[in-house]
């Protein structure tokens, strides 16, 4: 009975939107980038999904610097996902869209859900996705002069370069000068 297992709700969503997937009780609607804001509006007004949960992105890339690449080859793109919920029965819907990596751009959801503000700023700094009409698209966590977008699959973890994981010995040696000086 977790998440979107409400049959009536699933049916009404399926009739409204053409591509709806239900995977492990997680309902996902795929839309085109042009329908991004419009979808949020419809879900908020017609389906009472008034609770904005989160927004984030996924970097689909075949050549990765961290982790394992996808099993089957994918065309490189960003997938952007946002999650809405309803606060009485708890129905949940994920909405996803795919955009090009070159000049990644998508309209901001702020006019529909003001709460998307920080989530979009996070996606902007971590993936380099531009959100149009965002009033304050600045870095969320990182220092202002930080370069690069850490969540990209091409962004290497520096600790991996210095020390491979899983390392044989995880404990580092004692400092040679002794610790007395420190005290």
């Amino acid at each position: 009975m977790n998440l979107s297992s409400n049959a009536e709700f699933i049916e009404s969503i399926s009739t409204k939107f053409s591509s709806v997937e239900n995977e492990f009780d997680t309902l996902k609607i795929k839309v085109k980038p042009e329908e991004w804001v419009e979808t949020a509006k419809i879900l908020k007004e017609e389906f009472q999904l008034t609770y904005f949960s989160w927004l984030s992105a996924i970097d689909w890339e075949n050549e990765v610097s961290v982790g394992d690449p996808p099993k089957e080859s994918v065309s490189p793109h960003f997938e952007i996902v946002f999650c809405l919920s309803e606060s009485i029965e708890g129905n949940v819907v994920l909405v996803s869209t795919e955009i090009e990596k070159e000049d990644a751009m998508i309209p901001s959801l702020i006019e529909v859900f003001a709460g998307s503000n920080w989530h979009e700023r996070e996606a902007y700094e971590m993936f380099g996705i531009e959100f149009n009409n965002h009033p304050n698209l600045t870095k969320m966590y990182l220092p202002d002069d930080y370069e690069g977008n850490p969540m990209l699959k091409s962004f290497e973890l520096i600790s991996r370069e210095v020390k491979p994981w899983p390392g044989e010995v995880d404990v580092e040696g004692m400092p040679e000068n002794g610790s007395k000086e420190d005290n």
């Binding site: 904005f52 982790g67 394992d68 099993k71 999650c83 708890g90 709460g115 503000n117 966590y141 973890l157």
Partner: protein
């Protein structure tokens, strides 16, 4: 205050030209990152006009550890260690949704007994977290005593968690497919696994009695205090609509009158077997947020007492392969953390670790409401409002 000034100026008609309000430049006030009431390292850049706040800009990132990136280079069992450091006040509760999301993808289910143990420890983490809030919030308002009482009471809960898991804050007790045999549980050979430490049931019953007493005492001591009431009632009101639009969840949302508790919608913890109430506030002010959390502790204690009495016997772990590989797929699982909706969106490509792990933490969304909420408030109320949101910076920055 304007009224008083204006009426004072009325008789002196000749000086009317002087009484025109002089527009002064706003003063910038930096609060934090080292301010005690920011619960860590949150920095607020406030523009103040006298005592009045004209705008607030929270600056985050002082506790950013990049867990979402780190999860991409870790295996599933290793990630459990990471996630219970997100909200360190209730470490155990952070593990549950991740484990549940992974189990869902692997299509396995933990045995009933393991589920009960998970539920008991989650509720204990909730009580411990709310004790910290209760003590710290009263301290921020200006009462010194409650924090000492609350910390003493919380220690009893942490002792219980420690006796089962071996850790006070970071239990790392959940395994995919069950829980690990308890610390100090004697021989761990397969035939003779003793899961909970001896005397755990009785100690829990005693501790829960103490919790119920503490809630009672806190209600009198803090809730009955005129100063506390004056500082919190009618202050920092969050409306239903505003809360939902910003994704504010947990006790804060319920204090605004929305009966939204994810515990009623979980299928991986047996909450449906127990009777409990969901406390809901009316006004959505600081006092309600404090009171809802206080009542929740009482309900959690009730749930634990029921769970102890109906503890099923059986194995602690279901059969899982030695090397855990999660089949390709995606799942989003969310639970009611002490602070709100905690969710993990796991995208697996069939490897040893996830391709992408999105961590939805409650505190991040909860404090995103701060700029709206604090606008036009008085500076002394800032601390009262900020404290009532009960955030942990590890939970904000991840």
């Amino acid at each position: 205050m304007d009224d008083i000034l204006n009426t004072g100026n009325v008789p002196y008609v000749s000086e009317a030209s002087v009484s025109v309000e002089i527009e002064t430049e706003d003063m910038t006030l930096n609060i934090g990152p080292q301010h005690p009431s920011t619960h860590g390292v949150l920095r607020l850049v406030a523009k103040v006009d006298g005592e009045k706040i004209s705008s607030v800009e929270p600056v985050l990132g002082y506790m950013h550890r990049g867990y979402e990136k780190l999860a991409e280079v870790r295996t599933y069992p290793q990630i459990t260690t990471l996630v219970n450091r997100i909200d360190w006040v209730s470490g155990f509760a952070n593990e549950i949704p991740f484990i549940a999301a992974t189990e869902k993808l692997m299509e396995i289910e933990a045995p009933e007994r393991a589920k009960h143990i998970r539920l008991i420890l989650t509720e204990m983490a909730r009580i411990a977290s709310h004790f910290v809030f209760n003590g710290a919030y009263a301290l921020e308002i200006g009462a010194l005593t409650p924090i000492f009482l609350a910390m003493e009471d919380r220690e009893r809960i942490l002792d219980l968690i420690e006796s089962v898991t071996g850790g006070r804050f970071h239990p790392n007790f959940n395994r995919i497919g069950g829980v690990k045999p308890a610390a100090g549980s004697g021989p761990t050979t397969k035939k003779n696994v003793q899961d909970l430490p001896a005397g755990f049931y009785q100690e829990t019953r005693d501790a829960m009695e103490k919790v119920l007493e503490a809630v009672e005492r806190m209600e009198d001591l803090v809730g009955g205090n005129e100063v506390f009431k004056a500082r919190t009632k009618g202050v920092g009101i969050i409306s239903k609509e505003l809360a939902e639009e910003y994704g504010v969840s947990g006790p804060i949302l319920r204090a605004s009158g929305v009966k939204f508790d994810l515990r009623t919608q979980t299928d991986f913890l047996p909450y449906d077997k127990f009777e409990y109430e969901i406390p809901v506030g009316e006004n959505g002010d600081c006092y309600d947020r404090w009171y809802v959390r206080l009542l929740e502790m009482r309900e959690s204690a009730k749930i634990i007492l029921q769970a102890i009495d109906s503890m099923p016997s059986g194995p602690l772990q279901t059969k899982v392969p030695k090397v855990i590989k999660v089949p390709k797929g995606r799942s989003y699982v969310r639970t009611e953390n002490p602070k709100g909706e905690m969710g993990y969106y796991v995208i697996s490509e069939g490897g040893l670790g996830p391709y992408r792990l999105k961590i939805r933490t409650p505190s991040f969304s909860n404090i995103s409401i701060l700029p709206v909420l604090l606008e036009g408030q008085l500076l002394p109320d800032l601390i009262a409002i900020m404290g009532s949101l009960d955030f942990v910076l590890g939970d904000v920055d991840r």
